[in-house]
Symmetry: C2
Subunit: 484 residues, 2 copies
């Protein structure tokens, strides 16, 4: 390549980097979140490509993440966990230095996952990307390509001196020896995941040209988004196998237990749950219990009865309040991804991601498209959890309006309970009909075979606690049996 | 033990748990952070003791953490890292299910650390606890004790059935076989770390009595704190070996470079830094660069010149803005503990923990005792970092008032730079003399041999960038040589 040519390219690179630098302010102002996924062959030059992209950027504005998938994390969380945890907040760029593609392909090549499992992961990847895209994330997917011969030459060069030899891992050598198979797998993965968000294959043998192309794509993507504003996806529904659910108005709230019945059953069920926790831990089954319900329905007391027999080392209760700023500025499922339990552990969510289709819907904290899309997104999310091996049980703690009023008054009149009652509770109460409608829709659209809803009659708290405990014990018995 | 006796204890346990439940509201209102460290022998019953403590508590109010020290994390972060990361926010209880004691003792027993290293860890533990205590944290340290015979019996019992055998690890069996040595080590550790915050040894063979004692201690500790309010520590100074530092007013800001000199040196130094990064990575040396300086002194551009030659996979730039709520509600070093680099990585802090003795001091964001204590706390923190193996370099990017004014005006008059200039910058500028006084004191009191300050003359940004690069390269050369 001629000298002038080189100079021309360097000049254009500079111009593009400066343009991106200039775009920073608007990206921040408009709150655009941007994901750049850089995949490619070992020694293809991912590092220097990324260096080109960021060299002029304000460090407050981007991050580079190399999700180190330690065997531990690996084994103990869903495979998308490290990537979901790393999504950028609005107005920032997150650059993934290799990510879910390398992860999936390598595991398949290593035969660490079955073809079946691989298919599920590919589906999960498509769901993950679509959800982010629909949530307004800009996603640029790059694959840095080099030939077998080029890779061989580079490996040789790296290994020639001490300072760089560490850059070539056993894995890389193995990839090189299996170059042909890897190429097929990469291509098939890109083929299966390129429909909604396309892959861009860059020529790793032309360093500057590749950087040029990457920056052009990024600049262009940002321009389009800045002109058209954040594109928010339209509702989309895959038909999940849904369970029949009654309307709340049809639920008979009369069931109750005597103190004697209660005490006897509580003792028996808690004992069994405590024993089961050992097996769950031993079998490394993650357990996710989701609590939703009317204010004053008795969620707290119910949760404590479940938690009591559990080994405190093995469970967490996650109270979900209104999101913190950093949570608010990311896709809404992020704050739940980051709270997932490790395998063998219980996580009890006191309120959940269903806030999206209840309070956020009714209070207008998200757009209509947002909450309408959420039913499907949540079903996908929960399927990813159960595909990972989790037991996911969802409880709607149900009472009627009179019972709520009685409990509100009781709280108001009992000093040590007053903190439990807020103005907001009274406001929510006034919206009972709208909430009931939203809840009915939620129960209809998200009670799946893999992650079912259970309506818990809680006018009598004792009955509610026992029913919940019994469901948990029965479902865990089933899960344990299924994993023998 | 008689039946009535048992009943009495159970009744008292219930009373104490309810008292703690009642204390919750005040603890939250007063924003008291509470740490309960539960150490003890394997099979001593730490789990059930913790279960007793939390069984009536509102889950929004406490957490139980079992810092899983994976070999990876282990090797890649300072040993206090998992514990520092887990400190509770104000108004909450964090219960450590085994912690830094077990960590230190086991490592010594396993000969994974030298006696020398162990001494340093014990010192770090005392510093860590004192800093939290001085910051208003309540710390309760419990050790659950059982005899060799009792442990043997329990291990047998656990191993008799499938559901519980996993609870006995190889480690535990080894501890049992080395019971006598372990006892000596535990006792010596408690002896060395019990001066400021005492250890309470509970009899693990009397389950209820132990729980009773633990709850009594907790209740009492909280009562005292609620009466006397958060106790904040008095300044305390250990004499660290300090380096001579000039006053800012004595610094000659005239040095400058021609464009030719600049370009040549920049190229040379960046090339060398890029090569060094490989060695740093190879030798797993963590590098922490701290930037402080006047507004518009040129921190950003300086940082970019350092970052340019680094492998983006191997460094992070951490811009430190005003703390988020969750950061604000924890000890002030927490948000830096959580941002430490892994070994072999660079972390460049754009503003640092020194905010405590500058902006927080001058704007009254902390008490006088708080910032006066901070010099020593920061020296301890940085010594813990260098003891871990980190290279810690601190740069004060210095300009004079006229230069700042010129740059402010330039920003004001250049549209694409305006975002960089805020009202606050003008306000800070008015406080130049107070800041200068605070900065001089900071430089005098925190420039240690292990973590030195460098004043970077930045009226000429080119000179400043080259000087900083040169210091980084030289210091890294030294570190690399020292680790041959």
């Amino acid at each position: 390549m001629k000298k002038e040519e080189k100079a021309r390219i360097r000049a254009e690179l500079k111009a593009l980097r400066e343009k991106l630098m200039a775009q920073q302010q608007e990206i921040r102002a408009k709150g655009l979140p941007i994901i750049v996924l850089v995949e490619g062959w070992a020694t293809a030059g991912k590092g220097s490509l990324i260096a080109e992209i960021i060299s002029e950027l304000d460090p407050r504005f981007y991050n580079v993440v190399t999700p180190i998938v330690t065997p531990e994390a690996e084994a103990r969380y869903p495979f998308l966990y490290p990537y979901a945890k790393a999504i950028p907040e609005n107005g920032k760029i997150m650059i993934y230095d290799a990510g879910w593609m390398e992860d999936c392909v390598r595991k398949l090549m290593r035969r660490e996952i079955t073809k079946e499992e691989y298919k599920k992961r590919v589906r999960a990847v498509n769901e993950f990307e679509r959800q982010l895209h629909d949530g307004g994330y800009l996603i640029l997917k790059l694959f840095l390509d080099i030939s077998r011969e080029e890779q061989q030459a580079r490996i040789r060069a790296f290994r020639e001196n001490y300072e760089t030899e560490w850059r070539v891992s056993r894995e890389d050598l193995w990839q090189h020896s299996e170059y042909k198979l890897f190429r097929e797998s990469y291509e098939s993965f890109m083929d299966k995941t390129g429909k909604l968000i396309p892959w861009h294959v860059l020529d790793g043998e032309k360093k500057n040209a590749a950087a040029l192309e990457a920056l052009r794509l990024l600049n262009g993507m940002v321009d389009t988004a800045l002109e058209s504003g954040r594109t928010v996806g339209k509702p989309f529904e895959e038909d999940f196998p849904l369970l029949e659910m009654p309307k709340l108005s049809e639920v008979d709230l009369s069931p109750a237990l005597t103190d004697e019945e209660y005490r006897a059953l509580l003792k028996k069920l808690q004992k069994r749950l405590g024993e089961l926790h050992n097996v769950i831990y031993r079998k490394k089954i993650p357990v996710i219990l989701c609590y939703e319900g009317w204010d004053a329905a008795g969620k707290g007391g119910n949760i404590r009865r479940i938690a009591k027999p559990l080994d405190p080392r093995g469970f967490d209760v996650m109270p979900i309040a209104s999101p913190t700023p950093e949570e608010l500025h990311r896709q809404y499922l992020w704050r739940f991804w980051t709270r997932l339990p490790r395998t063998g552990h219980f996580c009890i969510f006191d309120r959940t991601w269903y806030g999206r289709v209840m309070v956020e819907r009714l209070e207008g904290f998200c757009s209509e498209d947002d909450w309408k899309r959420a039913y499907n997104e949540i079903n996908e999310f929960e399927r990813q959890l159960t595909d990972w091996g989790a037991v996911v049980l969802k409880f709607w703690i149900h009472i009627d309006q009179d019972t709520q009023l009685a409990r509100f008054n009781d709280r108001q009149n009992t000093p040590e309970k007053q903190w439990k009652l807020t103005e907001e509770d009274w406001r929510n109460r006034e919206k009972w009909p709208q909430y009931e409608e939203a809840i009915d829709e939620m129960l209809q659209k998200t009670s799946t075979e893999n992650a079912p809803w259970f309506i818990i009659e809680s006018n009598d708290k004792k009955f509610a606690r026992i029913k919940t405990l019994k469901i948990v014990v029965d479902e865990l018995e089933r899960a344990v049996a299924a994993r023998l």
